[in-house]
Amino acid sequence: MDKSEKLALILSMMLLSLFFGAIVYASMARNIEVPTCITDVEPFLTDTLFQTGPDEYELQMVARMWAFQPSVIRLPKGSTLNLYLTSQDIIHGFKVERKNVNLMAAPGAINYLQVTFDEAGEYKFACHEFCGAAHHTMAGRFIIEDDSNEPETAE
């Protein structure tokens, strides 16, 4: 093999190793959650939000053509949300802006991710997997409030 080709190959492999190492560092040292699929629990059919501890909430969210249920979620600032997501019909996507939340909503399975909202404000979320004629309308928002109001959801 030519010397230049060998050097290019080695440099490329070193770069890929660096990228892979950076991902491993983020998930292990920085404790960043990785989306998990739960297959041994029967998927729920209705949405629920409840408090499981101080500043900790559980949200069971259902995606369907063409809405998230619930689509508006109010939480106090500093809340940690355990998000369980499933779908009633077909595969949908779930992406929250300004957050590392990127899940699939699949019928027959529940996808789980934990997310903490440290800053007050509005975080919009949307379906990012094309799911039919009104896919572009399938969206909602988290409203994170400074004062510690009771959490609530709305359709």
């Binding site: 230049s4 290019a8 440099l11 490329s12 770069l15 660096l18 990228f19 950076a22 983020a26 920085r30 960043i32 300004r98 957050k99 590392n100 903490t116 440290d118």
Partner: protein, 42 residues
Amino acid sequence: MGSDQNTEEEFTPRGAMAFFIVLLLFFITVYFAIYFQMLSWG
């Protein structure tokens, strides 16, 4: 004929090597720009 062969043997693809290095630097910049943005989101 003989001088042509000598020229070919001495050829070093400097342009291609420079382009490759710039390409790698570009990949590193794009990758880590997105990477640190995602880390800041937590």
